[in-house]
Amino acid sequence: MNRIVDLIKKQPIWIFVLVCIVFFSVSSPYFFDLNNFSNILVQASTIGLIALGMTFVMINGNIDLSVGATVALAASLAVGLQSELGIIGAVAVGLMSGIMIGALNGIIAWKTGVDAFIVTLGAMIGVRGLVFIYTDEQSFYAYDLAYSDFGASEIFSIPVLALIFILLTIVAHLILKYTIHGRNVFAVGGNRVAAKEAGIRVGPHMLINFILVGFLAALSGILLSTQMGASTPNLGRNYELWTITAVVLGGTRLTGGFGSIIGTLGGVLAIAILRNGMNLLQVPSFYVLIILGSILIIVLFIDKRFAEQQGQGVGA
């Protein structure tokens, strides 16, 4: 019990998730339903997978704005190359592309010392250019129906996409909490100079995280394309913003050094539940924008109050 109280104190976003669940259950007859929850999980999985990687990157003190473009690149390759390489080959190339973009970002940030925000802002613009060059502005269609069948498949009546998301969430949680890499990610984000002087190789850790988020963004894009049986060059626009939002809602500090996968999961679910609930309640789309924006700011405000209660010095 104490542990639960403790968890809630550390992860106020889960309170918000609970409040949302209660609210929507009361106000919509369709909400509280096993089917709907697996809907929410599938809907959450797209942003959620990226957010797992982004949590590592952000705890490490960086940020990745290029994930949205990576989603489109990986999806386009994975669908577009199927006629030549078959599904497996094309998917492999798609995943590779995410790893490459991540590695490129990581190496540039590491070797040049340019802030990751700038490196990935550049990549966000440039990778989208690559997507357009490759696709020639066209949508691609997966001729093999097995591809889109995978996106719709279920195991024990749980959608496979949701399962993949849950599984990878657990893996990410374990890596962050129990490996040397995970621990050093916190150290580097908490105090980069101290970490460096203690002999932690800052650059490789950063690189690994960028590769991780690149891979997960690619995976997310590919899984999304299995839901569509197609890819479009505009896929993933603004995903970087929503991913960052989810991670921050989950309590990860923007300046690095603090955060958790559990929190991120809460942030991702919060957004997915809000969207799903508002769809069920038929909130007009213009107001959805205002509500989401306001909630983001309000949660940030509450989170800050929480942090301040835990004792801080001069309001610096």
């Binding site: 540039i108 590491w110 070797k111 040049t112 010392g113 340019v114 802030d115 925000f117 700038i118 490196v119 802002l121 550049g122 990549a123 966000m124 613009i125 440039g126 990778v127 989208r128 250019g129 690559l130 357009f132 060059i133 980069r192 460096k196 190789r201 800052v202 650059g203 913003l241 960052i244 939002t245 921050v248 923007l254 789309s285 213009f286 107001y287 959805v288 924008l289 205002i290 509500i291 989401l292 924006g293 306001s294 909630i295 983001l296 700011i297 940030l300 405000f301 800050k304 001069v314 309001g315 610096a316």
Partner: protein, 333 residues
């Protein structure tokens, strides 16, 4: 003018410069000249007064916003809401134009735009919430507000021929298009403010070390607040240009501008950590981006190739900039 260009970071020292340092200091100007030369050689249509003004005019909307955002960034914050705010301001001024006349429309537009800037400023300056997330939230909220206001419809000025509102986007003064003039004049004025006024100095201080600034009696809250008012103001000016140029507006007209603005500011060498930066360099940064766009189009490349070039240019420019400060090309961690 030399002083204005030179001292982009208060307190940096002038001494003999190694090639790397030279590039770090003047790299953005070098890149500018390089762009001009390359494109001039590649196409004879590039280097003409007409095209030059086209470039400046195309840069003027993003550029004018970037002027205010530079202050925000030097003050140690970000503003991602300017794209939405531009849509909002443009829709507002165009819609009100026919209802209350251009003069009142402009005044009302500035009032409401500054009001939104004040909300940003209050949340970030006084409540000390993180600027990235607040302005991200505002990006979404302002978009919603704009749509609710317009009912999701395009707005148009019905009598496009006989309104002095055309001044801001369509007329010329001494052969210079007014948008370019607004951009350049505002740029010079703000550069002087940044470097020579107490206000500018204080912005550098809060961005460089907010706590120390607070301990020195600077009203940090108010100063941060005022940077957001300033960015809302320049966004309002950009809305005048945009509304007048198009004589109408869509609700998503400014979508994605926030990142282009930021790209220009960063290209100008303003540090995202705050405490250093320069308006003139931002102006050059924005012009380079506009030139890339214009030049590649003139050369007949598909429009998306400019994105690839922009990618490379941003990273190389910022890299050389910090490499010069570091004294070597590669970083050591």
């Amino acid at each position: 003018m030399k002083a204005l260009l030179g001292s982009f970071r208060p307190g940096s020292k002038n001494s003999e410069l190694s090639p790397l340092q030279f590039f770090g200091k003047h790299g953005i100007s070098v890149a500018f000249v390089l762009c001009v030369v390359i494109f001039s050689l590649a196409t004879d249509r590039f280097l003409s007064a007409d095209n030059f003004f086209t470039v400046v005019m195309q840069a003027s909307i993003i550029g004018t916003i970037a002027l205010g955002v530079t202050f925000v960034v030097i003050g140690g914050n970000l503003d991602l809401s300017v794209g939405s705010l531009l849509s909002f301001a443009t829709v507002l001024v165009v819609d009100l134009h026919d209802k209350v006349g251009p003069g009142t429309a402009i005044i009302l537009m500035f009032v409401f735009t500054l009001l939104i800037g004040a909300v940003n400023g209050y949340l970030i300056g006084y409540l000390r919430l993180n600027s990235l997330i607040v302005t991200l939230g505002m990006l979404s909220a302002i978009q919603g507000i704009t749509l609710v206001y317009s009912g999701g419809k395009n707005v148009d000025i019905s009598d496009q021929e006989n309104t002095w509102f055309a001044f801001f986007g369509r007329e010329e003064f001494l052969g210079i298009p007014i948008p370019a003039l607004i951009f350049i004049v505002l740029g010079i004025a703000l550069q002087i403010v940044l470097l020579k006024s107490g206000f500018g100095r204080k912005i550098f201080a809060i961005g460089g070390n907010g706590t120390a600034a607070l301990f020195s009696g600077l009203r940090r809250n108010r100063l941060v607040f005022s940077t957001y008012l300033l960015s809302a103001f320049t966004t309002g000016c950009a809305a005048l240009i945009l509304g007048s140029r198009v004589m109408g507006s869509q609700n998503n007209v400014g979508e994605g501008y926030e990142l282009l603005v930021l790209a220009g500011v960063i290209l100008g060498g303003t540090s995202l950590l705050g405490g250093s930066g320069s308006i003139i360099r931002t102006v050059i940064g924005v012009l380079i981006l506009a030139m890339i766009q214009n030049g590649l189009l003139l050369l007949g490349y598909p429009y998306y190739t400019q994105w690839l070039v922009t990618w490379v240019v941003i990273i190389v420019a910022v890299w050389l900039d910090i490499a010069a400060k570091r004294g070597k090309l590669l970083s050591t961690y």
